[in-house]
């Protein structure tokens, strides 16, 4: 969690409709491309689309579950032990997600390895618990968790699709670019992760800047 991310929501968040609560995480406050939270899993598992999607969905599951329980117990948790309590709630859901994934998709579970339990240390989860779920009702907390999770999944899917397509010429393991494509191996290696996210951020900054210019001239 960066120091700058904390004071973004002072006190309780302003009222909003259910749709706004969900949409915010996908667009304007996207955890990856705007808030730069949860960077470690973002880079580590996005060399294959299947891994990226699995990590995104697992994180969404944990976000919704943790949001629900943090919001439920928000009046009972003492202020002094709140961070530890949130971490415990998050860790419980991560353990659940880890076991469910290992039982249903053992191959993906093996590929993700220690990065599955590492969801606990994803600053996005603790950040949203502290800044949002602990201050609002159950329905809003769940909506926000779902929106943030979906925004996270979307970013991971785009990133891993670009990396797998360029680095291996495949998508979900199916050959797309044909046998004559020479794989750009760099993209599936660690430097390619930084590079692909850098390009994605440049693209987002370009679109945002262009929109601002258009609004200024209109």
């Amino acid at each position: 969690m960066t120091a700058a991310a904390m004071p973004a929501v002072p006190g309780a968040p302003p009222p909003a409709t259910m749709f706004q609560d969900i949409w915010r995480g996908i667009s304007r406050e996207n955890p990856v491309v705007v808030q730069m939270l949860g960077m470690c899993p973002t880079m580590a598992v996005t060399n294959l689309v299947a891994n990226g999607v699995a990590m995104g969905l697992a994180t969404t599951f944990v976000m919704v579950g943790a949001g629900l329980f943090v919001s439920l117990f928000r009046r009972r948790i003492a202020n002094e032990v709140r961070i530890t309590s949130y971490i415990l709630i998050i860790a419980t859901f991560v353990t659940l997600a880890d076991m469910i994934l290992a039982a249903t998709f053992p191959v993906i579970s093996k590929a993700l390895g220690p990065f599955m339990p590492l969801i606990v240390a994803n600053c996005l989860l603790l950040g949203r618990a502290e800044a949002f779920a602990a201050k609002v009702g159950v329905a809003r907390a769940v909506a926000d968790g779902f929106g943030m999770g979906m925004g996270f999944t979307l970013s991971l899917t785009v990133l891993s699709a670009v990396r797998e397509l360029l680095g291996r010429g495949t998508l979900f393991g199916f050959g797309v670019l044909g046998p004559r494509y020479e794989p750009w191996v760099f993209m599936v290696l660690p430097p390619g992760g930084f590079f692909a996210l850098g390009l994605l951020l440049l693209a987002v900054a370009w679109v945002a800047g262009r929109r601002r210019r258009l609004e200024a001239t209109a």
Partner: protein, 192 residues
Amino acid sequence: MSNLAWIFVSTLVVNNFTLVMFLGLCSFFGVTAKVETAWRLGIANTLVLLLTAVSAWVLNTYVLTRTPFLRTVAFIVVIASGVQITEMAVRKYFPVLFRQLGIYLPLITTNCAILGLALFQTSRHYTLVEGIVFALGAGFGLTLALSLMASIRERMELADVPAVARKMGLVLIVASCLSMAFMGFAGMGTSQ
């Protein structure tokens, strides 16, 4: 002995925690604007990594032998309280250092490098000594990556870059180049 040396070199450069394994990226991007803070945070992280390596070994050997599914929960609770204790000790005995580190000290809890160390140590079945060497290599590697990045970013302050790249875009491209440089060490041995 050579095994210990290999673990150290391997975690320090070949499989550098930050640049190759993608652990601890939040602090890598968040607090590398100044060399001074980056360096201090690296040292604080090394201390917590050492504490974690020892406690993870104790937990694995004596406590969690019959309940491995509680590992994630147990590790994170131990790390959170370890960071809390470190913070209190530093505040009591080194007040100057405490003021310099400020907010970064409690934030170490959500640094995935710490939990990652405990998990990798478990999955590789390291002994106590190997675990400590592993933690030292990881800590120095983290400090190295943070200081390198901070030095480059201090220079970049004065560079004339396009407006689009002024925020994080350029930082990530630079990180990519650094990571590429570290990939050069991969020839030193098998990456396990």
